[in-house]
């Protein structure tokens, strides 16, 4: 039972980038849409950024707005796009749905 199981659908990626302050990540990269940035789990984009101490690692959530099933190749293209935009990524998590249910948590404030 793993990611190749036919009940699993890859719908996006959480990419953690290092940046001092809120990163101005492009809102579209390789067809994927930036839907959320959080800092230590608290939503800081979109909408007003709460007046909190930001640490230097930000979780950037990219999804496919059309809800199509994504592939590993989409992850590689996304990371290349983030790199090209000048940001250092340190960690990636796949966002999967299992039997139609999200296998990932929302951010605080999302």
């Amino acid at each position: 039972m793993g990611l190749l199981n036919d009940k699993v659908k890859l719908v996006g990626f959480d990419v953690f980038v290092v940046n001092q302050g809120l990163p101005k990540i492009p809102e579209k990269i390789e067809g994927l849409t930036l839907s959320l940035i959080s800092n230590r789990g608290t939503k800081v984009w979109p909408g007003p950024t709460p007046n909190i101490n930001l640490t230097d690692v930000h979780r950037c959530r990219f999804i496919d707005a059309s809800r199509a099933s994504l592939t590993h190749a989409d992850a590689l293209k996304l990371l290349a796009g983030i790199d090209k935009a000048g940001f250092e990524w340190v960690h990636v998590e796949k966002l999967i749905e299992i039997n139609g249910k999200a296998g990932f948590s929302k951010a605080q404030g999302e």
């Binding site: 230590r40 789990g41 007046n51 909190i52 998590e93 999967i96 948590s105």
Partner: protein, 335 residues
């Protein structure tokens, strides 16, 4: 000279929250506190009206007033809504949770003369709520500890120890297993400790700490813990002095402070007049001290201790038969 009037945000919460809030407000008013309430909704009532446990507008009001008194709110288990308490703490950057643990006269427990203070880091650790299913078999929760967050929590612990004339700060951790995350927390603690030559410091593994707490809790003074251990150990310590019904709590940040009962919303007894308002009341006492209304705070605390020591008007959770209203009137009569 009377203190200037303070405007505070009141959140009644849900379950038993509204009735214990009423009791607390009655007692605070009878004691002569100079405060006015700016009430906002959070909890199930807010979820029903807005779809959110607490709205951004309510959060702004808490932020502007700077001080809030909060009743318990229900967090639906599993899917659905995030914890309202965690949302408030994170959005307002309330980076420490402060829990005084002191034996109360008239509350029988196996331990006498317990007097310790818990400082819990309140933002980080697994409470980022960053969780992923990595496969259909493996679930993961990210544990984030930062050097900056650990330093400011440690500094708060030492500053508070100095202010309250306490002698020793103990860092509670699991750095023998989580060598990087808790190792960072412990390193930050030691770095800050070096700045406070007037206060002793040591550290202890969390499992040993729990064993020591339930055998000889009097040996501890101030405990500093990362978020998850702090959550667990602070409730354990509440049990040492009689339970969550009498345990006060405060969430403190640089711009705002929220004082709240640490127990849940107890929907099974809501509206029956059985709830014990002591935890929220003692949280209110901490709030009044924070607002420097010290005489009023002392008056309420002394009245509570007197009522509990006499034992005639204890609520059911403390082995008595008094209703919320009877207990409230007894406290007011002893102010």
């Amino acid at each position: 000279m009377a203190k200037a009037q303070s405007k505070i945000t009141l959140i009644r919460g849900d379950g038993i929250g509204p009735e214990i809030s009423d009791a607390v407000m009655q007692i605070i008013e009878a004691a002569g506190a100079n405060i006015v309430y700016d009430e906002v909704e959070a909890g199930l009532c807010s979820i029903e009206k807005t779809g959110q446990g607490i709205t951004a507008e309510c959060m702004d009001i808490i932020n502007v007033n700077g001080v809030a008194l909060k009743g318990p709110t229900t967090t639906p288990v599993g899917g659905g809504h995030k914890s309202i308490n965690v949302t408030i703490r994170k959005a307002l950057d309330l980076y420490v949770n402060l829990r005084p643990i002191k034996s109360i006269p008239g509350i029988e427990t196996p331990f006498k003369n317990v007097d310790l203070l818990i400082v819990r880091e309140n933002i980080e650790d697994t409470y980022g709520g960053i969780e992923h299913m990595q496969s259909t078999d493996v679930a993961q929760c990210l544990r984030l500890i930062t050097r900056s967050g650990s330093l400011r929590a440690a500094r708060f612990a030492f500053e508070t120890a100095r202010k309250l004339k306490r002698k020793t700060v103990t860092c509670v951790h699991k750095a023998n297993i989580m060598k990087i995350t808790d190792g960072l927390f412990l390193d930050a603690f030691r770095e800050v400790a070096a700045e406070y030559s007037d206060i002793q410091f040591n550290d202890i593994i969390v499992d040993n700490c729990c064993m020591q707490l339930v055998t000889k809790p009097q040996q501890f003074d101030v405990l500093l813990l990362p978020n998850l251990f702090g959550d667990i150990v602070s409730d354990l310590c509440a049990g040492l002095i009689g339970g969550l019904g009498i345990a006060a709590g405060a969430n403190i940040g640089t711009r705002a402070a929220v004082f709240e009962a640490v127990h849940g919303s107890a929907p099974d007894i809501a509206g029956k007049g059985l709830a014990n308002p002591t935890a929220m009341l003692l949280s209110g006492v901490s709030m009044l001290r924070h607002l420097e209304q010290l005489d009023v705070a002392d008056r309420i605390e002394n009245a509570v201790f007197k009522v509990l020591k006499e034992g005639k008007w204890k609520t059911r959770d403390l082995g008595g038969t008094a209703s919320t209203g009877e207990y409230t009137r007894a406290v007011i009569a002893n102010l």
